[in-house]
């Protein structure tokens, strides 16, 4: 299995000279099994370039599976620009958490409503299909075995552990740490006082995450913030590389990939973050990589970066 990063940025796309090397497009990762099965995780703006590649492939898949962590704009905005959606005969299955009363097709179809986009989802040639995922309830798609994991993010999000070809990786984005804030279904203008129940819920979420990640080869984690930024915005629903390392060390994973980079972190700052956390990871026995757009990573057997 290998994974390729098509978008590594959080919040919104950031064009310009400062993002040429790490990339400016938002969340989207492609996984490929040894046998060629394809799985897409998140549909941020990176999905446009992925789609353009997929339609040019010799044996382009006609059925795409897209796992969504949640439906914030930076994780779905690429979907209307995904070229395979405009190829007749294509089927696109979308898997997502149901966080509110609305049906998934309404929520996801809502991004292409008339006011926002020239063509509604119902009018595109591809056939769309929506599946609800539930944390802890695993399922299989081709060569991939998938376990959704509840995360701590405004209005909810899910991570995925993905097992395939005798190895595994996990996608843990977006999430806050499991300490100061429990994200629920309402807007937070700052940190709220935690109740005892909240503390119990946070501890349970953290415990389940560590348990699901146990022994995973590679974990892609939301490390949007540096510690000083997190201190100012603990209620925004994102983590630091330090918090990711703590979880990964407990779960004894081999490799952590920093992901969902803040829009303000330009290439030079990203170089410093990459170097700093390579060292901090080594100190606890974890190989830390910093994702960049276009990076392909073999999962499992020690391979070289392509």
């Amino acid at each position: 299995m290998q994974i390729t990063f098509w978008g590594v940025r959080g919040s919104y796309p950031v064009p310009g000279a400062a993002t040429v090397r790490y990339g400016g497009q938002t969340s989207c990762v492609e996984a490929r099994s040894a046998g060629g099965d394809c799985l897409i995780v998140d549909a941020g703006t990176g999905m446009r370039a992925l789609g353009n590649k997929l339609v040019r492939e010799a044996n382009a898949p006609m059925h795409h599976h897209v796992l969504l962590s949640h439906v914030h704009w930076d994780h779905i905005q690429g979907l209307p620009f995904f070229s395979p959606a405009y190829v007749p005969g294509t089927k696109i299955s979308v898997y997502a958490l149901l966080t509110a009363a609305d049906e998934l097709h309404q929520v996801i179809g809502g991004i292409t409503r008339h006011e926002f986009f020239p063509m509604p989802l119902e009018a595109v040639p591809a056939q769309f299909e929506f599946h609800q995922v539930e944390p802890g309830v695993d399922f299989t798609l081709g060569a991939f075995h998938i376990t959704p994991i509840a995360l701590n993010h405004p209005f909810g999000s899910v991570g995925y552990r993905i097992d395939c070809d005798g190895s595994s990786w996990a996608y843990v984005s977006d999430t806050a740490p499991f300490t100061e804030v429990l994200h629920k279904q309402h807007f937070l203008s700052g940190v709220e006082q935690l109740s005892d129940d909240d503390r119990v819920a946070l501890a349970a979420m953290r415990e389940a995450l560590v348990r699901r990640l146990a022994g995973v080869d590679t974990v892609v984690y939301d490390t949007h913030f540096l510690p000083d930024e997190y201190a100012r915005f603990p209620h925004y629903g994102h983590s630091t590389p330090d918090q990711a390392l703590e979880i990964c060390a407990e779960a004894k994973v081999r490799r952590l990939v920093l992901y969902h980079h803040a829009p303000s972190h330009g290439d030079e700052q990203m170089d410093r973050i990459a170097a700093d956390y390579l060292g901090k990871g080594a100190a606890v026995g974890i190989d830390v990589l910093t994702s960049f757009e276009g990076m392909t990573l073999p999962i499992g057997d020690e391979g070289t970066l392509i």
Binding site: P15, G16, Q77
Partner: protein
Amino acid sequence: MRIRFWGVRGSFAMSGRDFLRYGGNTTSVELVTAAGERLLIDLGTGATELAKTLMGGEFGKGQGQLPILLSHTHLDHIQGLPFFTPFFIKGNQIRILGANPISGLSLEATLQNQLAPHYSPLNGLENLAAGVSIETIQPGAALEVPGFEIETGAVPHGSMWTTAYRITADGKTVAYLSDVEYPSYEDPLEVALSLARGADLLIHDAMHADHDYELRRGWGHSPAAAGVVVAERAGAKKLALFHHSPDATDDMIDEVVARTTARTAVPVFAAAEGSYLDV
């Protein structure tokens, strides 16, 4: 009047080496009068760059005032809204002016949808700390914005309409006609000509290179040649090609400019992110 392009890309923000000279951010244009009054048109991702500059001044202290005109609510024109930091500072007064979409939803309901809890942690306009007013305009009517005289008109854009603007300040006039496709580009609609009449600068949708247009007719955007016809017939003094296709690399845009320049006596340039112009 000074005009600054913060986002010039259409449809989709493009990052990477091929888009560095003209820029990859989606549409946002700032106008500032000699007396310092400011007006913004459209809230694409380019607005997030402007926000950084604004926050260094009175907007960072909650003393900023900004009217924003929207051409329409397609995502590339409002994508920057949830990340436009002046919205998060109490005391700033921001007006968003635009027409109701023809779907029957109001402008306000549309922007609320953009910030719905599914899509954005902001969970609604009411959570923006600044004073924000959403003002529905009737295309065709004149607008009152301190320092600027504004005329408006509806122009066709695929299955919907966008609002085009004619803005006059300091005795100079800028026409903004983005996201428009005329039934025939050789024969632009009168509403476009009258908004652009004698303008010192015409900013026009040029999403398609002329040779690509036939394949994309009916998609709601113009070939570069459309802006030329409008500029010539309306007697505009300068033409800025705008709303570049996400597929157009810097070199391709250079080529469009060269071809367009060769066919008209009107001075033509392609709008580039970060650049400004005194009219």
